[in-house]
Symmetry: C2
Subunit: 432 residues, 2 copies
């Protein structure tokens, strides 16, 4: 786009306008999630949208680092960067839009820890920005909704995060979903046991993560492509073969080498047994030794929730005990769970879900050129007395069409203003 | 800041972190405002934070145009701009952060009008960004809260905006505030009557706007500085002298030349009389012919709310009937009112206001190494049964100190976990 391009009224590429109905659904879902999390003792915090560019670039954002929207320096600072023969691209920006809520949370905690409760049980709900290729149909601004517990090393943190997230999903009408859980330390020790070289671990995990989609032979091919050791690949494939189709925790545990992470399995079992009891059959939890999760910063348990009928997960998280120490100077245990807010909204929209309306919504139709405006306003105020929503609307020429439009806007009642008589009539499609 | 600067954990200059207590207050205020506006039939819409840079630059943002945070182009697009000998600064960015909610609303309406109700009664609540000098102590990200009615030409729109905004302020505990109202057309015809040259009108208005602060002689000096016509200045000063200290609408009207805006005064009187009746003495409304408001896009009535004891206004708005036409191709009447959300929050904080807590908040203290975690979780779930907020917290060594900290976090009760006995005890400062 150059300066001479005529102005378009469309939102910028990859960005969305939200019309009243969509905002209604999003606000309803956000309120249900917040209410649930607050019941578990979480409280909301907020960080700014813009962070120092160096914090974002050095953050452990994985592939998101390439997707940062960078903010140009201003005034003299920009002048200085543009002088001289060679311009250093990376010096043109001093700020960037956050690409997730975890990097800002870690900075927030490092900066404010003296004024925060320990443990901190934080809710974050807000937009993040990623310069994704618009071709891929991904949004460049989208909402994330995270809860994090900072300062608890016991697995009671994981249990609370899982229970609270599941409770929020149940509140939104989701059911029969499955929490899959694993531990990064199991993955690491498994890769060590198979004797992959350490610099290949992440690549091995990425291959493993695809087992569901590409099957055992697919994983074997990927492993051959990323590892120089055919022996290590064979060892891992042998183990995976025993895991496939197995759901029972003990069977899965026995399919893995017994030297791996004895303590970790104890904690995992605690979480799985505890959540199974609490879930009361409304959802399930299972150990999945092939669950990887993309972010390199995880250090312990990791978890994901999948919804029947949908391939993408609807929530994901894990423990990241080493991340805060890098900024705060002292390691602090931390664990988080993020609901895929946009996916939740997409699924609710798919299902044609509409938030329940609790308050009567009345259109008070007047003729501004004829009626006394202060009488109209007083009439509206009177109708609002019982808590009703009352919207004053000028009468249109075609009143039948106007009433039909009001039905579409979810007005349940209307009233044609008359000074002496405020009769409220029901509105329904086709009957107006 | 260069790449070699060590990472700081402070938010970027002019940006703020919000801790739980502050978010609690902000969320409470936002919810009260939204609830009130919804009762008046307004519905929330949302636009993206980033807009095309050309929309923002060509927007009627006045002095805010110099304060846009611009987003650097990416990939090949940026490469092309950086090639060659002379770099065009204005071509380095393709997007910018919105500096207000009005420019995006106008774009939103132009783009989506076919799918929007007429009239559109929109609420917007969200952050905007301005690259203010941090020395001035201004925030570079702050929340705005606007309502707008698009598609109503009658002054019933102004009346609804004023009544809804006043109702929201009353709901927040504000009282005895004053709505000051004027009309841009009166200002224009007054300047014409005094025979200022048209290119000086804005400068004349700016001087007029300062009457409260700099007095009549101050205004005279400013007018002399901006206008070549001593005669025009004398004429205006004569009129202003008659206005000073006058509160009564009719007296003010008679102090102004009788040829000015006869119809406009009729509408103004309707609004003032109507709102006076509706306000029931809880707040007041008065005509203020020296009220100007900064934005050049206003075309009709303008209004502002001032709170006793504070110099800055806490809300402001007006009619802008010509702005949508520039993007949508067809003029559409529009009128808006914006609450100064940050000022509201600052005043509430000043007063030490705390949002009322409606739900009991219980700390369930456990010892993760000793207690059965699933029993602790089940106990918390049981305590939540009546709607209570229950936060599971690991016991600290110094329990007295821990309980004191819980009081500061506004826990009203605590319970030390025992499998056989869940006794909930009250918590109060110093008594823990």
């Amino acid at each position: 786009m150059t300066s001479s391009t005529p102005l378009s009224s469309a939102p910028a590429s990859g960005m969305r306008d939200f019309l009243p109905g969509v905002v209604g659904l999003r606000d309803w879902a956000a309120a249900a999630i917040l209410r649930t999390y607050q019941q578990f003792g979480f409280t909301r915090i907020e960080t700014p949208a813009l962070e120092h560019i160096n914090l974002l670039r050095k953050g452990e954002g994985g592939e998101n680092l390439a997707l940062i929207f960078e903010v140009l320096k201003r005034g003299d600072k920009l002048d200085r960067e543009l002088q001289g023969d060679s311009i250093n691209r990376s010096e043109l920006a001093d700020l960037g839009l956050r690409f997730d809520l975890t990097v800002p949370l870690v900075r927030f905690y490092a900066h404010n820890q003296g004024n925060l409760p320990t443990p901190l049980k934080a809710i974050q709900l807000g937009p993040v920005w990623r310069a994704e290729s618009p071709q891929q149909g991904r949004y460049r601004q989208f909402t994330q909704c995270d809860i994090d517990i900072i300062g608890v090393k016991s697995e009671i943190a994981e249990m609370e995060l899982i229970q609270a997230t599941a409770a929020a999903l149940l509140e939104l009408g989701f059911k029969d979903f499955t929490v899959r859980i694993n531990d990064r330390r199991i993955l690491t020790e498994l890769a060590q046991f198979c004797e992959f070289s350490e610099d290949r671990f992440e690549a091995v995990f990425i291959a493993l993560d695809k087992l569901d989609k590409i099957g055992i032979e697919g994983v074997r091919k990927e492993l051959h492509a990323v590892s120089h050791s055919g022996e290590a690949t064979d060892k891992l494939i042998d183990i995976l073969t025993k895991l496939i189709g197995e759901e029972d925790f003990l069977q899965l545990r026995h399919a893995l080498p017994s030297t791996i992470c004895p303590d970790t399995f104890g904690c995992l079992k605690n979480v799985i047994d505890g959540i199974s009891q609490l879930s009361n059959g409304a959802y399930s939890i299972k150990f999945d030794p092939t669950l990887v999760r993309g972010m390199g910063y995880y250090t312990g348990m990791i978890f994901e929730i999948s919804n029947p009928g949908y391939t993408h997960s609807i929530a994901g998280g894990g423990r990241y005990d080493k991340m805060i120490g890098k900024l705060a100077g002292r390691d602090t245990p931390a664990c988080g769970f993020s609901i895929g807010f946009e996916r939740i909204i997409a699924i609710l929209s798919d299902k044609g879900f509409k938030p329940p309306s609790t308050v009567p919504k009345i259109a008070l139709i007047c003729e501004p050129d004829r009626d006394s405006l202060s009488e109209v306003m007083a009439a509206a105020e009177k109708l609002r007395g019982d808590g009703s929503i009352v919207s004053i609307l000028p009468r249109k020429k075609d009143m039948r069409k106007q009433l039909d439009a009001l039905v579409a806007q979810e007005f349940g009642h209307y009233c044609t203003f008359r000074p002496d008589n405020l009769e409220v009539k029901p509105l329904s499609a086709g009957k107006a």
